[in-house]
């Protein structure tokens, strides 16, 4: 399977997907290199305060005399890796739990699915806010809170796929050949789960960035003086007249999230069969 990886089928190359992928790659590149080339130290407070955008400070300075452009670029290295890590974590845990629930059924399924019901009984931002506030404000706790609300969707999706496959003949054949449950899950079931989960994950990167920056906006994530987009926007509320303080970090969030959403949505057309030939009702 891996050998076919470098060859990208022509049908995958859609304008939307390409635009999204290019923007996403640029931002990820910025995230990993920004510290090397930003013009000013992101935490240094030695510039004139509240300077509007100009030649020296491209995006102006904030109320403490810090260069917004430098903070914005290094901010990418806070948000993007954390969001990717968060999605990976939710994906692994959620998929495992969903697979166990779907494969073993009975009380395992009942227990795990009631747990997802409970998480989904709250709107996501609200539950994340409550968890983050209870754990205490820090970027690490914000990631934990975001994880708490984001794994169930992976569990739900994996479970429904596994449930559908469990009784298929080829899976039965494997089990009759003496495959252990984990070998069955790995060999016969996992390949069917990869596509839909990948689509979900790529769309979830955007959601994760919105959630993490939202928590920081609420003061529950990144703490000052960390250069983080959500808290930079939060600082703009105190300086309404200096429009540049809030405008640029928001544009950063918007473009990154949009890029991952474009990629995810294009992937969905390729991978997710339900988006094309779904005949079943919304609830099943």
């Amino acid at each position: 399977m891996r050998k076919r990886w470098p060859k990208i089928p022509a049908a995958w190359i859609t304008p939307l997907g390409v635009v999204g992928a290019v923007i996403a790659v640029v931002w990820v590149g910025i995230a990993f290199t920004a510290r090397l080339w930003v013009p000013f130290e992101p935490l240094a407070q030695d510039l004139p305060r509240l300077q509007s955008p100009g030649i020296e400070t491209l995006m102006g300075t904030d109320a403490l005399g810090r260069d917004i452009f430098s903070r914005l670029m290094t901010g990418a290295s806070v948000t993007i890796p954390l969001a990717l890590m968060l999605v990976l974590m939710s994906l692994v845990v959620g998929t495992l739990i969903g697979a166990l629930a779907g494969y073993f059924g009975k009380w395992v399924d009942e227990l795990l699915m009631r747990l997802t019901d409970l998480v989904m009984a709250f709107p996501t931002v609200i539950l994340a806010m409550v968890v983050a506030a209870a754990l205490g404000p820090s970027l690490f706790n914000a990631v934990i809170a975001a994880f708490v609300v984001s794994w169930p969707q992976y569990a739900r999706m994996t479970r429904s796929i596994v449930l559908g496959l469990r009784t298929q003949n080829y899976v039965m054949a494997g089990r009759l050949m003496g495959f252990s449950p984990f070998k069955t899950l790995r060999v016969d079931i996992a390949p069917n789960v990869v596509g839909p989960i990948l689509v979900l994950a790529s769309l979830d990167v955007g959601t994760a960035i919105l959630l993490l920056s939202g928590l920081s906006f609420l003061g529950l994530g990144a703490q000052p003086p960390t250069a983080e987009w959500g808290s930079m926007i939060s600082a703009a509320i105190q300086n309404f007249d200096s429009w540049w303080i809030g405008l640029f970090p928001g544009l950063a969030i918007l473009t990154v999230v949009m890029a991952f959403n474009f990629v995810g949505d294009s992937l969905r057309d390729i991978f997710d069969p339900t988006s094309q030939v779904s005949r079943a009702g919304a609830r099943s």
């Binding site: 709250f122 205490g136 919105l210 509320i237 999230v257 005949r279």
Partner: protein, 353 residues
């Protein structure tokens, strides 16, 4: 029930629906119970020091104060007893005292709820209207340029950080262009209308205060616009999928073959068939809106649940945050229950199955 002949049970028009509703009610009550367990656990069991958080650092350094607090709140009791006390308190409307406002959280929230419900209801109406229009358009013109444009538009809507959009639009439409009214629910010179529903728009109409009505509506515009962007994106995509699913259905083809006009076909056949899945997503959209208010209201100084949550969170007022979590959880459960009810009433397969 056990002796009822199978045939009458199957074809009676009431009992299956009632059974369905009871099952749904049971699930909702269980989840409600779960929601209180979650807020209780978070408020009492997290690794941080809830006592220090509740008393503030100064008071927490005094052992006598801490001891008195533990006695008063029954924190030396076993956990199940503490939980029972917590539920008992909730049932009497006791959600603790806000550290920030020093008022009972329940009283603060009761004042805040109508403002948020007003904004959320208007936002859901706007989102549904625009979402159904754009989604149907995209489905009818599948693969055409307008379909692609709607797709990009709705994806961008799903990518906008609402708290930023609130800030930018407030800055632009109020501070720069001066075409939007300022913050709050009403202009400072206007007294609020006599409270009937708690919605300023409805109350002012009931009292015949036309000026207050237009002012309240004008203040709603910008927050509703900002809040709706995400849900418009969500609903548009979902409506498109649902409409596509029924467009190929035999009954729609039959309608077309009968020579029905476009609008008759769209409203009487297509949207009617697609309405059930759309209804499901409306419940979800409400959750998104309630989340959104937390991030948006503070910017507009809108005195609702969202501002309360924002202020509680930024000042680390744990009772306040937990109160919002609980109330929003309950509201969200209620809405989803209502959606399920409506679903059961509308869908003959659920009603008669």
């Amino acid at each position: 029930m056990g002796n009822t002949p199978r045939a009458t049970r199957r074809y009676s028009t009431r009992s299956p629906l009632v059974g369905y509703l009871l099952r749904r009610l049971g699930t909702s009550v269980l989840l409600l119970f779960g929601v209180t367990v979650v807020t209780f656990a978070l408020a009492n069991l997290v690794p941080g020091d809830p006592i220090a958080a509740a008393l503030g650092e100064g008071a927490a350094s005094n052992p006598a104060t801490v001891e008195a607090y533990i006695q008063e709140r029954g924190l030396d009791q076993p956990l199940p007893v503490q939980y029972a006390n917590y539920i008992g308190g909730l049932l009497q409307g006791d959600m603790g005292i806000s550290l920030r406002t020093t008022q009972p959280v329940a009283e603060d929230l009761a004042k805040a709820v109508p403002a948020t419900v007003e904004i959320a209801l208007l936002a859901i109406i706007v989102s549904l209207g625009v979402g159904v229009a754009l989604g149907s358009l995209a489905a009818y013109r599948r693969g055409k340029i307008s379909d692609q444009l709607v797709r990009v538009f709705s994806l961008i809507g799903l990518s906008i950080p609402t708290f930023w959009m609130a800030l930018v639009s407030f800055n632009f439409f109020f501070l720069q262009l001066r075409i939007a009214p300022g913050a709050g629910r009403l202009s400072p010179i206007l007294p609020p209308p006599p409270t009937v529903t708690g919605f300023h728009t409805v109350d002012s109409l009931l009292a015949g205060q036309w000026v207050t009505f237009t002012d309240a509506l004008a203040h709603l515009m910008l927050p509703v616009f900002v809040l709706s962007l995400f849900t418009i994106g969500l609903l548009t995509r979902f409506v498109r999928t649902s409409v596509l699913e029924v467009l190929d259905a035999d009954y729609v083809r039959a309608g077309r073959a009968k020579g029905l006009s476009g609008s008759r076909l769209l409203f009487g056949y297509v949207l009617r068939g697609a309405s059930l899945p759309i209804l499901t997503i409306v419940g979800l959209a409400f959750g998104v809106l309630l989340s959104g208010t937390v991030l948006v209201e503070a910017v507009f100084a809108w005195p609702g649940l969202g501002s309360y949550a924002y202020n509680s969170a930024t000042s680390l007022d744990l009772p306040g945050v937990m109160g919002v979590g609980l109330v929003v959880g309950v509201v969200y459960l209620t809405i989803n229950f209502a959606v399920d009810l409506l679903y059961g009433v509308l869908d003959p397969r659920v009603r008669l199955a």
